[in-house]
């Protein structure tokens, strides 16, 4: 859920920026370039890391044997599924 909300927010912001600044038509503006996509995913991973650390979730999950590397891979996987779905939807 956290990843979905962040992903939607960042895509809405980047789409708004693309439409306003380089006049990319909607809905194509929803699809960022590969570099932008990588950047957005990195931001999502970082925000999730900070948020989980702030809420003591990292240490709890580490005590269950889950490393943040593994959690980051799950986050990246979720982002890639969302990206693929968006690209299919927009065509």
């Amino acid at each position: 859920m956290r990843v979905l909300v962040l992903w939607l927010f960042l895509h809405a912001a980047s789409s708004y920026g693309s439409t306003a600044m380089i006049e990319t038509p909607f809905p194509q503006s929803l699809i960022p370039s590969p570099i932008s996509t990588s950047f957005l995913i990195a931001v999502i991973v970082l925000v999730v890391r900070v948020e989980m650390g702030r809420r003591s979730e990292i240490v709890f999950l580490a005590n269950l044997g889950h490393s943040f590397r593994r959690i980051a891979l799950v986050v990246i996987g979720e982002c890639l599924v969302l990206e693929t779905s968006l690209r299919v939807a927009v065509g």
Partner: protein
């Protein structure tokens, strides 16, 4: 003494943060069935040493071994899979989830065998459906201990568990630490509540200016004039009595 006699051993640990040398050749260990307590003033390096032993921080130098196996690049998730549990000073539990959710996550990973008994021993039945964020500090620590009892770790590292707790909660949690040790866990703890901690400990380590000294048993610690003078203060007599 051979390495294998220790459940956990962090030996010759050094750690600097920038120009500040937090630890220099400090050591910490835990033995099965015993409570080892790290005492020392604020800023002496206790938390840093415990974090390194638990795999939360990497040392600049030194060796950490678990059950005799030297752990290169050790980390908490890896040590946790081998039976270690770490309860940090700030808190183990996440404020946004219910107590029941934490226990469920633990039971899903390690099995539910000890969960009901842990709930009953720590008297948290009434808290199960509350989010951790709505609990008091004492209740949160009771939940952390319920998780520790349910997990039944081979090594438990718990940093300053008695801080900000009422005397009644301090006594209950101290008993929980003893219970875990009686069940065979190596318990490593720290704090400033010397009277309570000395009453439940088997081994006392004194952390001073980034290094550690093995003081011995609580009785030996109370008889250690330098330790009494420089750490415990004037209120402690040589037999633990209040002067």
């Amino acid at each position: 003494m051979a390495n294998t006699e220790y459940a956990l051993r962090a030996e010759g640990i050094g750690k600097s943060f920038g120009r500040v040398e937090a630890l220099k050749a400090a050591s910490l260990w835990g033995e099965a069935g015993k409570v080892t307590t790290l005492l020392g003033r604020n800023g002496a390096g206790k938390t840093t040493l415990m974090k390194i032993a638990a795999g939360v921080l990497r040392p600049d130098y030194g060796v950490v071994s678990l059950f005799g196996d030297v752990r290169e690049n050790h980390s908490l998730p890896r040590l946790a899979r081998s039976g270690l549990m770490y309860v940090p000073q700030d808190q183990l539990v996440s404020p946004r989830y219910r107590v029941r959710d934490h226990l469920h996550a633990l039971a899903t990973t390690f099995g539910s065998a000890g969960v009901d008994a842990a709930i009953s021993e720590t008297r948290i039945e009434a808290l199960l459906d509350q989010t951790v964020g709505s609990l008091s500090g004492g209740e949160r620590m009771r939940v952390s201990f319920a998780l520790a009892l349910a997990r039944a770790p081979k090594v438990l590292i718990v940093d300053e568990p008695l801080i900000r707790l009422s005397p009644q909660n301090q006594e209950a949690l101290a008993n929980a630490l003893r219970t875990l040790a009686r069940r065979g866990a190596a318990v490593i703890t720290s704090g400033h509540d010397a009277r309570v901690l000395l009453s439940i400990s088997d081994v006392i380590l004194w952390c001073v200016a980034g290094t550690t000294h093995h003081i011995g048993t609580p009785t030996e610690a109370l008889a250690h004039s330098q330790f009494r003078r420089e750490y415990l203060g004037a209120e402690f007599g040589p037999h633990g009595e209040r002067l």
